[in-house]
Amino acid sequence: MANPAVRNLFQASHIERRHLVLPEPSADGIPQESQEALLKKHRHWALRLAREAIEACLSPRGLKPEDIDYLCCISSTGFMLPGLTAMFIKHLGFRVDCQRTDVVGMGCNAGLNGLNPVASWAVAHPGQNALMVCCEINSALYVYDDTIGTGVVNSLFGDGCAAALIRAEESADGPALQDFHSHIIPEAWGAMRYDWDLSQNKFSFHLDRDVPYVLGVHAETPVNGLLGRHGLKRRDISHWIIHSGGKKVIDAIKYNVGITAHDVRHTVGILRDFGNLGSGSFLFSYKRLLEEDCVHPGDYGVMMTMGPGSTIETALLHW
């Protein structure tokens, strides 16, 4: 990297580790990958990571892909037709009569946009198994040109895939998904968007520098809406499961919603250990919360994801 400002972005301490699939560096730097190569990379690695994530989700419950009745796949890092659900059915052992939805191009918030209809489907089909898979191969969507704009993006995102099982049943071992509340900020429509980079013939992700502040200003609105409907105050929420959007985004949420460093410990930890994993980030935080074994029956939790639109999505959990 010739540009020292770009190098500084990569050296910032809030991200220590990320998983990426990149070509071997050549003598004159990073070789350019064509859009075609990037799309292939997305397909290949989405399948590989999803196989592991789905296995890790289902096998502890004694389930196999053939037990899944509804499959929802979420990805914004590669466009394909047929979509991920069709590819997973072909390769991973789901039934051919598995019902399915692909949520494509909704960005980092999409996990909750997917969870909302998945939860409704589960309620309409009690005892049946719905599976949501958030699969982002961020190293399949990038442009490298030594500018600050691409530097911010290239130093932030990582590859990762998470799967979650959703069922409507009396004696569930997980929390109840009680409600959702959405909020979109149309005046910040273009703050996060894909552009076509004409010089490199590739999609390029654009991230406005004001994104953290725009999200911060609006963060209270959906939280108040979600909690207000249930007569809850923020102090009633024991667990905050927040998308690891970036350090400034997390700070903006912290100081605008009035939550503590402890509340965002997993959000910060996932950012540190994986970077921003897009739509699946919040499920990584959720897994760490469960691993702490500190959740008590009766506890409330809020899930919160932020992304293009500009969008803030929230969900209320009750254990």
């Binding site: 502040y213 911060g216 105050k233 700070d251 912290k254 460093a261």
Partner: protein
């Protein structure tokens, strides 16, 4: 506010007055302090909260009648007390304690979490817990930030009874006055037009300043500042001052 037995609560203009009517802190008082915080956050437009005692005393600390020496001890009551202190420390209002007579143990801890303290000459401040065989709560965390580690060690380990003058020299007391009401009026005046969000954020950043590195702190500051400058209080200031 109704149904309070250990506290009296009244609002007078911009100020909410919380009077400790028991000389010692028991679990009922901890619960009622939490209720008062709920009320202050959810319903009250008051901008200042004043904590004081009654009958020439502030508070003599924890009530040992809540304990059963024949039963195994548990930590949960202490946890509830710390949560109540945390709530008071984070109220989006300016908080003031008025101390006179004995201000010891939990009473001293309570005064420590308020933003400013007014002392009557009769006030005697003591963190006496270590002499009694236990710990002065999270004053073990907070006190050194106020007075420095050396003084904090002396105050917490040797449990001296501090006069108002000593406490003032250490920064634990802001004002000493015979006329507590006049001193309170003056202090409220000094806090000026209290903008809740600015007060809450400024205090939060100050409280966090000893445990955050500069790189993180500046990120926190920018997030907080962006919130502050979006509030009507600041927009009104710009409108007013840009005309001058």
């Amino acid at each position: 506010m109704e149904g309070l037995n250990t506290l009296r609560y009244r609002e007078d203009g911009n100020a909410a007055h919380v009077t400790l009517v028991r000389s010692h802190i028991d679990m009922a008082m901890v619960r009622e302090l939490t209720q008062v915080c709920d009320h202050l956050e959810d319903e009250s437009d008051c901008k200042v909260v004043v904590f004081r005692g009654e009958g020439g005393q502030f508070c003599k600390g924890i009530d040992f009648k809540d304990f059963r020496p024949d039963q195994p001890m548990d930590i949960h009551g202490f946890n509830k007390w710390e949560k109540a202190c945390m709530r008071i420390e984070r109220l989006p209002k300016a908080t003031i304690s008025i101390i006179e007579g004995t201000c010891s143990g939990g009473g001293a801890q309570l005064a420590l979490v308020t933003d400013a303290t007014i002392a009557h000459p009769s006030a005697r401040i003591q963190f006496d817990e270590v002499h009694l065989g236990f710990l002065p709560g999270m004053a073990t965390f907070r006190l050194a930030k106020h007075v420095g580690l050396g003084h904090a060690k002396r105050i917490i380990m040797q449990c001296p009874v501090l006069s108002p003058e000593e406490a003032k020299d250490l920064g634990l007391v802001q004002t000493i006055s015979e006329d507590l009401d006049a001193a309170l009026a003056q202090m409220i005046e000094a806090f000026g037009p209290i903008h809740n969000v600015a007060v809450y954020l400024a205090r939060r950043l100050l409280n966090e300043s000893y445990s955050v590195d500069f790189e993180n702190a500046i990120g926190h500051f920018l997030a907080a500042q962006h919130r502050a400058i979006g509030q009507t209080a600041f927009l009104d200031t710009i409108k007013r001052l840009s005309k001058e």
